[in-house]
């Protein structure tokens, strides 16, 4: 059987001449990671909380915003920084550092709010600064440490990168479940 020949694209062109219209963005499924293949690769948004790097799946990230004005909410739990207005929508903002018992975020010019999806209502996670977007393979992730399961609760696993670099990959649904229970 002849292999299908891939046609080289011309120097420039319109999408409508090359491909079928893109599918609408799907609602996030409830358990996208449980059937992960060992060599599956996924993109993560990597950010700093203090000196450590953490990651969230890019498919869970709706947007990344600078910190403008966070309006404090009276009587809210300590890890709820307040609410923000994004294009007319009011979003609660969680101080992720506080929620994970890593201290409190001091808002600076590199601080960002990572907006994640939560059902129909997005939520903002306040982080110290965004590092980069990385592609991490499933087999780069450590899920056990000396027979102790570290991939549990809100930690999806530890990614071992170049040199001594480690990134803690988070399971945002677990984090949100835990933090919203505290609220």
């Amino acid at each position: 059987m002849e292999k299908e020949k891939k046609i080289t694209l011309p120097a420039y062109g319109l999408a409508e001449d090359i491909i079928a219209p893109p599918a609408p963005v799907q609602e996030k499924s409830t358990s996208p990671e449980d059937q992960a293949e060992p060599d599956a690769v996924r993109k993560y948004v990597i950010f700093f909380l203090g000196q450590e790097e953490y990651g969230l799946l890019i498919s869970e990230v709706q947007e990344i915003n600078r910190v403008n004005r966070i309006t404090r909410v009276p009587n809210a739990s300590a890890h709820i920084k307040g609410v923000i207005n994004i294009r007319g929508k009011i979003l609660p903002v969680i101080d992720l550092k506080k929620g994970l018992n890593l201290g409190e975020t001091e808002i600076g010019k590199e601080s960002r709010i990572v907006v994640v999806e939560r059902g129909v209502r997005p939520l903002g996670l306040l982080v110290d600064r965004i590092s980069q977007v990385l592609t991490i393979a499933e087999n780069q992730m450590e899920k056990k440490l000396n027979d102790t399961k570290i991939a549990q609760g809100f930690i999806r696993g530890l990614a071992k990168l170049e040199g001594t670099r480690l990134v803690i990959l988070l399971n945002y649904q677990e984090i949100l479940g835990k933090m919203l229970k505290k609220a």
Partner: protein
């Protein structure tokens, strides 16, 4: 009519070439970002862009990752032209599937970009 365009490109030489082409749109304001993360910042700061020209290969957050996040938020309707290099057709296809309206390959000629701009914003 092009009034505000976001150009996401980490090469200063390419940036100068875009400025030359856009001399034909004297009322158009160009905003530059060096990677996808800066581009997200600019989207939030400046709002109301008519067009985004997006290099695929950039540090920190490449064009494809940027498109993926952008499609999920309120900026998904801004037309995007992706820019890639010869030999990277698969990246171009992925970008078009991810929602980009058009593409152009480097090294592009000014007339090619002008023709594409006319088609995209028609």
């Amino acid at each position: 009519m092009l009034e505000k365009v976001l150009i996401v490109e980490d090469s200063n030489l390419q940036a100068k070439m875009y400025q030359t082409v856009f001399k034909g749109h004297p009322d158009c304001r160009l905003i530059f970002a060096q990677n996808g993360l800066e581009a997200l910042d600019q989207l939030a700061l400046e709002k109301d862009f008519n067009l985004i020209i997006l290099d695929i290969n950039m540090p920190k957050m490449n064009g494809l990752a940027f498109l993926e996040v952008m499609r999920r938020n309120g900026y998904g309707k801004i037309p995007v032209i992706i820019v890639s290099t010869e030999g990277k057709d698969e990246d171009i296809r992925r970008g078009l599937v991810a929602g980009a309206k058009a593409y152009i390959k480097k090294p592009w000629k000014p007339d090619q970009l002008r023709d594409l701009l006319n088609k995209v914003v028609a």
